[in-house]
């Protein structure tokens, strides 16, 4: 090839055809486009039926307001829970626990007090340890 001069370069640059896009570009684009198109379509359906959805929600809310005093679902739920054998068992266990913690004494102190003291102390120790580690880490970084 002889040395390209300015005119040659200009002509070649001007006449340079487009590069061929890789074959995977079209499927990639179309995948994203189809996803977006589906979202757009669903949104348009939602917008189209927005008054219907609004009215249905309003109707449902009104029905709830009317039906709640009639059927009293809270009382039904409480009844259902009160009849549950698991809750009865749980209640009995809590009673036993309360009796042990209130009545059992170690070094003249009720067990409940001791448990509360140990829990509080452990909590404070954890907080103190965490803040010390954080303080040391900051000091080391700076």
């Amino acid at each position: 090839m002889k040395e390209p001069n300015e005119d040659w370069l200009d002509q070649e640059l001007k006449g340079l055809p487009d590069l061929e896009a890789p074959p995977e570009l079209l499927p990639k684009v179309m995948r994203s486009v189809k996803r977006r198109s589906a979202q757009r379509w669903l949104l348009s359906i939602f917008r189209q039926h927005l008054p219907l959805i609004k009215n249905s929600c309003l109707g449902f809310a009104l029905a709830v307001v009317v039906l709640v005093p009639l059927f009293n679902p809270v009382a039904t739920l409480v009844d259902l829970l009160a009849r549950s054998p698991i809750l009865h068992f749980l209640g009995a266990m809590l009673d036993v626990g309360r009796t042990i913690l209130g009545n059992l004494r170690i070094f003249e102190l009720p067990l409940g007090w001791l448990v509360a003291l140990v829990a509080g102390f452990s909590y404070l120790t954890c907080i103190l340890a965490a803040s010390t580690v954080r303080h040391l880490a900051t000091a080391k970084r700076s």
Binding site: M1, E12, L19, E20, L25, L26
Partner: protein
């Protein structure tokens, strides 16, 4: 016997099914649109960023933007120009984002060593495209904007945020480097 009129189907009305058909038709129309313009958009991006993999991502982004405005674009007569401008801007943003700005757009001069490579082809046009890819960003981008996007020196300076003098020097150096690469390769 009473002849009852057929009851309308509630929930599956004609509007919904025709909406679905319209959506499918639009997607097909857009596919044809992408087929027609994909080479042009890819070329703009590939020549600016100098890397076909990044160019493919940029081209995809351009077409997604085009899809969002497809209703306007398909009626417009300047769709090619719009696609070129978006591809150019996204490519420049890409270079700004992923490469050190001071190396790309700064007024500092960096020494460019003419690369030696074995061309995979004898076709001089392919060779020229390869040579363009080998140019450093600072020379390739203004050169491509000037020769392929037909932008003026002022427009290039504004787009890249550099001085007019730097644009002229970079284009001149780009052409010189291109000439040297071609001579060296041949």
């Amino acid at each position: 016997m009473v002849n009852a009129a057929p009851l309308p189907l509630i929930g599956i009305d004609d509007q919904d099914t025709s909406g679905l058909d319209a959506r499918m038709a639009e997607v097909q129309e857009f596919e044809t649109f992408v087929r027609n313009y994909q080479n042009m958009v890819f070329s703009v991006a590939a020549r600016i960023v100098g890397n076909p993999i990044d160019a493919q991502d940029i081209a995809q982004e351009v077409f997604i933007k085009a899809y969002e405005r497809f209703d306007e674009l398909k009626e417009s007569g300047t769709v090619g120009g719009w696609l070129k401008t978006v591809a150019t801007n996204l490519s420049i943003n890409h270079l700004n984002r992923y490469r050190a700005r001071w190396r790309f757009f700064s007024e500092e001069e960096t020494e460019f060593e003419i690369p030696t490579f074995t061309p995979p082809t004898d076709d001089r046009r392919e060779l020229l495209d390869l040579a363009i890819q080998k140019l450093p960003d600072a020379q390739r981008v203004p050169l491509v904007l000037f020769h392929f996007q037909d932008l003026s020196y002022d427009e290039i300076a504004e787009k890249l945020g550099i001085s007019l003098a730097k644009v002229k020097t970079d284009i001149h150096r780009g052409r010189e480097s291109l000439r040297k690469i071609l001579v060296k390769t041949s």
